[in-house]
């Protein structure tokens, strides 16, 4: 999770990712951020996030992203 938080802070240093739970709804993340994040996650965790998982529910908070990584890793 710490590694993920580092990646997220690299994208948006001004956001407190431990508290934020509306990254998509509040338009903090746009589509460019999401695909950059997917590439970073693939590089760091060796987990490929498919296009169909790129939905707001999976990217609204650091916790949701972490759950997605874990779920895809198990699958």
């Amino acid at each position: 999770m710490e590694q993920l938080l580092e990646i997220l802070e690299g994208l948006h240093p001004e956001v407190d990712f431990e508290l934020a739970d509306d990254l998509i709804d509040a338009k903090i993340f746009d589509s460019f951020d999401i695909v950059t994040l997917v590439a970073e996650i693939n590089a760091e965790f060796d987990v490929a996030i498919p296009a169909e998982e790129l939905i707001p529910e999976n990217f609204n908070s650091a916790e949701a992203i972490w759950e997605l990584i874990q779920r895809l890793d198990e699958e």
């Binding site: 690299g10 001004e14 746009d30 589509s31 460019f32 999401i34 695909v35 950059t36 997917v38 590439a39 970073e40 693939n42 590089a43 490929a48 996030i49 498919p50 296009a51 169909e52 790129l54 198990e74 699958e75």
Partner: protein, 522 residues
């Protein structure tokens, strides 16, 4: 059948009566019959196109969904005895079988769309001298760009396991052909539309009234504003209009396309509301955006969402792109991770350009949008620093400046729509740098564009009204909801005046043909 024809009003009147008079459980069948009747008005020759897409959509979604359900059942039954690798391999096998039919359906359907766009029509060659587009002279199957994207979106969602396939062929047929969306969208997703499209709807006075109000507002924007200003646009396209005249053309076109496209969508969504069918919004006050990227999140939302979900994301997160990101990261660092984003953006904007038509100027239009968005995205960190350093950049006055800057920039990019000859467009863009012929604003040129003083007064009043409605909806509460709070007599008076304005000031007779909405050509 155009939304702005007497035929449509008669058609809509009969439909509303039947829809609420007949038993609720057959309402969706009434809609299906009405949609095909509406479609056939465009010509019997187009029927084969929509039927082919409907049948292939139905068959492939049923097939894929059947496989996915059988897979899930099998995995559930054999949960204990299968290892993680076995499950993965089984899923992969099912997916690859589905993929074959999925790709075939997508390729054949989009192949038809591309063929139609490339061979059957060149939309802007059919533009008349008055600037109003005539559909009668061209052969693009009615609504094909809209129903095709809607159908293929559904096919992709089922393939991805994000939507369940519909068993009833006729319900799929209604989803594909639902008539308000055929003219110029919005492009709905299956999951968004299915509930309200097939559900029984008792007569809801408030909802019907809201729908009619929205339709009336759409007619106002289309007939009083867009079709009136179209004449001047036709004139301003003449080769002698450069410099400030060209700038004027870009502003006039911004007004026309806003009135035409948002007006048409207001009518479509309003028709849906009167029938209890809720379609997604296609615009969120786009001219109040502060940059081009934001504008595209608020203009033609359904197409842009489609492009993002089904083209931009799949390209940028595909295996080869992720591998490329890893490689470029080693040599270029953080910047390297963005390479897939740039490639994805470029291909998505090329796709959006081609969706509008197989013409060089649409491709140039797409590339200009892509270029501006990517540059501004990359400059974001600089903007952040700028806003932190200079407090005046966070004031309302600076916000207004950003909105005006976006408006002008978008107008200049959008004007490429108007010129088949890309060289001519750039020549006129260039004239902005050296030709300061401001005198056209007062030397009588404006009176020679096909509009008289009364037209200008009506246009200015109409534009002010559009601005006010948009401005007072800035808190995301619909203007109609606000209208409900004022005394009913004043409300009815306002609605009556709007109706009167449409009847008295609507541009009847100018390009008044079967389907003259600009986006109906795409």
């Amino acid at each position: 059948m155009s939304f702005t024809s007497i035929n449509f009003l008669v058609f809509f009147g009969i439909l509303i009566i039947l829809y609420y008079a007949l038993p609720k459980k057959i309402q969706w069948i009434v809609l299906l019959v009405a949609s095909y009747a509406f479609y056939l008005f465009a010509g019997l020759k187009y029927l084969g196109f929509i039927l082919f897409t409907t049948i292939t959509t139905y068959l492939v979604t049923r097939y894929m969904d059947g496989r996915i359900k059988a897979q899930n059942e099998y995995l559930k039954e054999h949960k204990a005895e299968l290892s993680k690798e076995d499950k993965k391999a089984y899923k992969k096998q099912v997916k690859s079988r589905n993929r074959l039919w999925f790709i075939l359906t997508i390729v054949v359907n989009f192949g038809i769309l591309f063929f139609c766009k490339a061979c059957l029509v060149d939309p802007l060659h059919s533009m008349t001298d008055s600037g109003v587009i005539s559909f009668l002279s061209v052969g693009l199957p009615f609504g094909i760009s809209f129903y095709m994207f809607q159908s293929m979106g559904y096919v992709i969602d089922v393939y991805r396991g994000k939507a369940e396939a519909e068993n009833n062929f006729f319900k799929v047929a209604l989803f594909v052909s639902f008539f308000p969306q055929l003219v110029q969208g919005p492009i709905s997703k299956w999951e968004q539309l299915k509930e309200s499209l097939f559900a029984p709807h008792p007569f809801d006075r408030r909802q019907v009234a809201f729908g009619l109000q929205r339709m009336l507002w759409g007619f106002f924007k289309k007939l009083v504003i867009a079709d009136r200003i179209a004449v001047a646009i036709g004139t301003l396209k003449g080769t002698e209009y450069t410099g400030v005249s060209f700038f004027l053309l870009t502003v006039f076109y911004a007004v026309q396309i806003y009135g035409d496209f948002t007006g048409g969508i207001d009518i479509a969504i309003g028709v849906g509301e009167t029938l209890g069918v809720i379609m997604p919004e296609n615009f969120i006050r786009p001219y109040f955006s502060k940059n081009i990227a934001e504008y595209w999140r608020r203009w033609h939302i359904s197409l842009n969402e489609w492009m993002k979900s089904y083209i931009f994301y799949p390209i940028t997160v595909s295996g080869p792109m992720l591998k490329l990101a890893l490689k470029t990261r080693k040599s270029l660092g953080k910047f390297g991770m963005r390479i897939p984003v740039y490639i994805g953006s470029l291909l998505t904007w090329l796709g959006t350009g081609v969706w509008h038509g197989f013409n060089l100027h649409f491709i140039v239009w797409g590339l200009m949008n892509c270029f501006v968005i990517v540059i501004s995205e990359e400059l974001n960190p600089l903007y952040e620093k700028f806003h932190q350093k200079y407090s005046w950049s966070n004031t309302r006055g600076y916000n207004v400046f950003q909105i005006l800057r976006m408006f002008v920039l978008m107008n200049l990019i959008r004007a490429s729509d108007l010129f088949n000859d890309v060289g001519d467009y750039f020549r006129r863009m260039g004239s902005l740098a050296w030709q300061f012929n401001f005198h056209v604003l007062w030397d009588g040129t404006l009176m020679n564009l096909g509009l008289n003083a009364v037209d200008y007064v009506i246009l200015i009043a109409g534009i002010v009204l559009m601005f006010l409605v948009s401005f007072f909806s800035r808190d995301d509460v619909s203007f109609r909801v606000k209208l409900q709070k004022i005394p009913w007599m004043v409300r009815y008076l306002l609605i009556f005046l709007l109706l009167l304005a449409v009847i008295l000031f609507g541009s009847y007779g100018i390009g008044y043909d079967a389907s003259n909405f600009i986006y109906n050509q795409f």
